[in-house]
Symmetry: C3
Subunit: 218 residues, 3 copies
């Protein structure tokens, strides 16, 4: 082979390597993103457990939104912060655990956005007053701003709240639909009731094997 | 250095880069696989919660198998679908939550197969009839067909079922061992009883530090 | 372009590819590490469930430490093993489930070390004697020795223990602070009480969005 042929062959190989590399960089980024988004949502949970509301609100993008339990949509980090600070202070005799579980995360690396389905398993109590079990499904969105993943949308569908002493079979606690003096910026996007009513929180993704849409309607 | 020497040196470097690249591609694939398998099993859980049996069955490979609670082995997607559709319809007054938790996933990228140990924490209820807590360990297998991960084997070992009102200390609910008119294709691969009996569901992997096999026998 | 110019250009490209490659190798390693550490801690949980104490102790580094529930620090794998073997044998009538949930993992690939915040949701029972719910937050450390991730530090802060029959609202079970004949090697690093007292287990990481330190003090 002439030197020129060798050079041309090498150029082709280097070109192919560069393409593979940029493909790989995207895939490696997806792993980084997966870890970052997982850590983000789980950290949200740890903050909520302990009433660290300002830290929790800081996890939202500037124009991030929050919608929980059919109480309407709160728009922007300031309103999210206001909503959160409406909850009781964490102190002796307050239990407010919100375990963040079972993530299904779908990342769009090109656009720097992602969606995640999670569930939270809830244990709440006020000493000598009441104790409850609860569960909610989240369908959340995330956005990468300045290289840092943030919550773009947190949407929690509470599926049951039950008194600890009564259990689930005797019905559930009705959802609180509004907080006095804390009007939402927009009405709820879904109309539903928690247990014992039936409701399938919508999925952000199709069946991962068949690709068929499943909108979660009963 | 002569141009020829430079060329030869470059060729060697490109060759080394190509090898590293193909090594890296395998590793990047493992991350993609990890995310896909995690999403797959967790999606199975969300479908089971809500009685979306056809969607759940679609997650199985054509020749996938299902074995739960010592009820025998159901072979092939059709029989899995039949088994699932035997359960009550999701509707008002039916709670059937199966949280998918604590995955230990082992991927064989070369063969496009994987194994996963999971546990499910279960809350079930029929309004005004009964409520239960339950837990099961899964030892599952996955297979990549046409670029999509599917469930090759789902094996759930139920470790306890307890009436909500009685708690665990007063014993458990006996496992249902068969469903009328729904004979399995093969007998159970393990003989065990749930709580209060002792049973260690077998592990698909050795101790990750010592490498010693631990077959989970008491 | 002369052959020499082509060669020089190629050399520059290959150099750039090599740099990107070594950057990518680090990132791909982080994904491998994430999976390995996740599998490690979850396997610890499965072993604890079933009283597989020697297998659990084997997951610790030679100089690994264990500190749980304010009982002091046990230093080195041998003392960890001794601490663990102090617990009741797994057998009929013993339930000791410790689900490993909600990991926030921070990896330092350069140093081969990592930290992880987890929580465990606990169901324990002795048949005909007692049943309890419990929850703990872990702040753990991991170290890669001979290419294998091990537990360098396991620190569990129990946040509540409640009798199943009483629930949370009526207060909690006091933490057991020491085991007879099993003196720790060093006193507890934190002084705290479980529910109904308030305590925020310290975080190993700052707020992931603002970067502000949050030491978890109430």
């Amino acid at each position: 082979m002439s030197q020129e042929d060798m050079l041309v062959a090498l150029q082709r190989e280097v070109e192919s390597l560069k393409n593979k590399m940029s493909e790989l960089e995207k895939r490696a980024g997806a792993a980084d993103d997966y870890i970052a988004i997982s850590n983000l949502q789980r950290t949200y949970g740890y903050y909520v457990d302990k009433g660290q509301w300002d830290d929790a609100a800081d996890l939202f993008a500037e124009n991030g939104t929050l919608e929980i339990a059919g109480r309407g949509v709160y728009k922007g980090q300031d309103r999210v912060r206001q909503y959160m600070n409406n909850f009781p202070k964490y102190e002796r005799g307050v239990l407010f655990n919100h375990m963040q579980l079972q993530p299904v995360i779908t990342i769009n690396a090109e656009s720097g956005t992602a969606k995640g389905r999670w569930r939270t398993f809830i244990q709440i109590a006020t000493l000598d007053v009441e104790a409850r079990w609860g569960e909610a499904t989240y369908e959340n969105e995330y956005v990468k701003v300045d290289g840092i993943w943030r919550i773009a949308k947190l949407h929690g569908f509470i599926t049951f709240y039950s008194e600890y002493d009564r259990g689930w079979d005797k019905g559930g606690v009705k959802l609180v639909r509004s907080f006095k003096g804390l009007e939402p910026d927009a009405p709820s996007t879904y109309n539903y009731e928690a247990w014992p009513e039936a409701f399938i929180p919508p999925y952000h993704y199709p069946n991962p094997v068949t690709g068929r849409r499943n909108n979660g309607s009963v």
